[in-house]
């Protein structure tokens, strides 16, 4: 049986109808048309599907949409202010922190959550926090550089 859930997505109130087994990723991509988050490993390992639920990174591939009812959701589409990119998005471009781009939305959202929690993390803390996001093109050095740039360290 389908259930109506209410989400605040990137600052806008949205209502979606989902079956209990629908994942948050399916709801966001297929019903809200926000396709920045990608399906990768489908088992919470790679981080390509990362979304911020009430500000915290979660694997949307393995999170039931019904369980997100009433929550605030941030997707990569919600980061830019109009035409002005988020500082992390700018830094990722400046540092060449992406090649194919499949993992990028997950990395940027995770980095945003880190900087919201801790505006000036150490390099060690950046590596720890982002350690669960995989980039198969291997841009790790550039990604860390980009986050350090925004953190001003």
């Amino acid at each position: 049986m389908k259930k109506q859930i209410r989400l605040r997505v990137n600052g806008m109130d949205r209502t979606v109808e989902v079956a209990p087994r629908t994942s948050l990723l399916e709801a966001v991509r297929d019903q809200l048309g926000l396709t920045g988050a990608k399906l990768g490993c489908d088992m919470q390992v790679c981080g390509a599907c990362t979304l911020l639920l009430d500000g915290k990174p979660v694997s949307a591939c393995s999170f039931l949409a019904v369980d997100a009812d009433g929550s605030e959701l941030t997707t990569i589409e919600g980061l830019a202010a109009g035409d002005r990119l988020h500082p992390l998005q700018e830094a990722f471009m400046d540092c060449g922190a992406l090649q194919c781009g499949y993992c990028t939305s997950g990395f940027i959202l995770t980095a945003k959550a880190l900087l919201d929690e801790q505006p000036r993390p150490s390099e060690e803390q950046i590596k720890d926090y982002l350690g669960g996001n995989f980039c198969r093109c291997g841009c790790y050095q550039e990604i860390i550089q980009a986050v350090k740039k925004v953190a001003g360290i």
Partner: protein, 304 residues
Amino acid sequence: MNDFEYLEPATVAEACAMLKRYGGEARPYAGGAYLSIVMKQGLIRPKALVNIKKIQELKGIRFDPSEGFVIGALATHRELETSQLIREKLPILCAVEREVANIRVRNVGTVGGNLASGEPLTDLAQVFLALDARVAISGPSGDRTIPLEELFVDLYQTSLGEEEILTRVIVPPPPPATGIEYIRFSSSSVVDKPCVGVAVRISLNADRKTCGTVRIALGCVAPRPMRAQGAEALLTGHPLSPQLVEQAAAAAAEECSPISDLRGSERFKRGIVRVLVRRAMAVAYDRASHASTLRLRSGQAGSA
């Protein structure tokens, strides 16, 4: 994933009643970090998921003078990792949590789910076993509290009844002059599940030299988290000596029953157990001795 009913009880009693109504065909659902995977793979196909996340009485981490440290089943890995109380009084738990999975799993996965899944490749059970933790369980026929050891039965099997809810983990305050260490070894990436996990706790006798209570808990090297009781017995009543450490480490490596898999062969894992027991024991003993002097100076409780 199969279709299922989705239920949201507000109390433990309601949750147990719902589970009972489905007669074993429903599952409690906490963070879903484990359930989502096994359901997607079709390994289990419950008729209903009983989401316990709205149950207030299962939340929070606190100190209760009569029970000790009480960790609600719904406390997430991340809550434990960042808890001020735990950081001050049981810092070993924060240290373990920093190494569990990745930030996303730590944000959703709960302590209750971690233990109740009976998953073999996990970390928390070892540390809780070393601390003599107990778990409180509620069901249609009442409440019970059991030593954590009695929760684990076999791979993915616990002694929880189908209509029961694990409500909290209770950690008694460690005695003075206690030291504990946990070492987690992963054979591929650090964000992989552990290959071997070893916790050692030593509480010194009043002479502050000889071992009083010793706990050696091993994870990932048997169908369930286990204590190496033969190894523990070798140390009890004795001061730590290099020979004794070596004997106990060898005994622990004998007592476990690892399987060969992609994370290492049986022989390799026994070797790792031996090394980790040795290392963890040295650190735990050092901390125990240090805790005793600290206590003498400032009257603080033994730091674990």
